[in-house]
Symmetry: C2
Subunit: 209 residues, 2 copies
């Protein structure tokens, strides 16, 4: 049967990816994984790894990509909820916190590699975060009518604050997570309201446009 072989190969590839994800934990970052460990976990011979990836870096970037996809799916979900429930900030933060709770490996990967050794990794994660920033900036620009530049700065601050709250929430229990969520919501409101304040001032000075 044609394609049977390719199918099997794809399956093994998935096994490797899943094995790598599975090995990530509180005390194991991706950069601390060895090729042999991953293949051991995947149940294949060390040298077979090379049939699927050039090296560990390539596998790692694949993981980051997959993490990014998961994150963007999440964003879609948040948008949907926003339409249903109204409150933009709190639904966004809550959705994000749920994600971290449900897929800690994925978030941890992005979190660690964002400031990790490899430039390629840092760039990849930074790119994923930029998706958020741009999308949020668009939203702010359209619904609140901010100029693009201002909306971007505002969105950037918000994404950083949520991401950091997520990082803190990673290793904490449900009660503490709720507190962190609350804190993040307040912080985002500060940013939103602060930006608004500056917009009003500007309007006062340039009342003609």
């Amino acid at each position: 049967m044609t394609g049977n072989r390719a199918q099997q190969k794809e399956k093994t590839r998935r096994t490797i990816i899943d094995a790598a994800f599975h090995l990530l934990s509180q005390e194991r970052s991706y950069s601390s994984l060895s090729l042999r460990e991953v293949t051991r976990e995947a149940g294949i011979a060390p040298t077979s790894f090379y049939r699927h990836f050039e090296d560990m870096e390539e596998l790692g970037l694949t993981l980051v990509d997959e993490g990014g996809v998961a994150l963007r799916q999440l964003m879609r979900k948040a948008r949907q909820r926003m339409r249903e429930e109204g409150s933009v900030i709190s639904t966004s933060v809550e959705t994000f916190m749920e994600f971290i709770h449900n897929s800690p490996h994925v978030f941890r990967l992005l979190l660690r590699e964002r400031t990790g050794n490899s430039l390629a990794f840092r760039k990849a994660v930074s790119r994923e975060l930029q998706y958020f920033v741009v999308e949020l900036a668009d939203y702010i620009q359209q619904t609140q009518g901010y100029p693009a530049e201002e909306a971007k700065v505002q969105a950037d601050a918000m994404v950083i604050l949520v991401f950091n709250a997520g990082a803190e929430a990673l290793d904490s229990k449900s009660a503490e997570r709720k507190l962190l969520t609350k804190k993040a919501v307040i912080q985002l409101r500060y940013v939103a309201r602060g930006a608004e304040g500056y917009r009003k001032i500007r309007k006062l000075y340039h009342a003609d446009n």
Copy 2:
């Protein structure tokens, strides 16, 4: 001569610490350093390492401590400048950015280990950052008269934003660094003004206190 031996030992200890700092770079995080690498760089035998530190973790925590000291010195400098120049936010951010520019290893160490593998490291860095948060919260509380809780949330947001701006600035050229400084300053102003907005609302509702 009494104390000569201890003196020599201290000197070697310093050599080890300096060697470790020296090995940190864009592509080498502390957790990726081996004991042998450090001793090689320090010019001592691998096994001599144990005369000074229990293991690599102990050395690492020492580095984090030293980084913290440097950071607190910086804070003192910022306070001094604030008195001279007035503008709290922009002087703070600028001082911080100068620090990152002048001691990138130290900042990189804190940045990476903040989200690293070792819980001990994460806690140590988090503690260093809390010094900033608490001190800044005190300042806000005293000069602007916010309640402690609110000042803390505000300070927390500000420290996160500055720290993240620093992270971005680490690998960037002077021109880009200026832009990042500007962005961070705006973001902090958003937070400050946003917090103020909420305080006014609260006062409106609880006009009796």
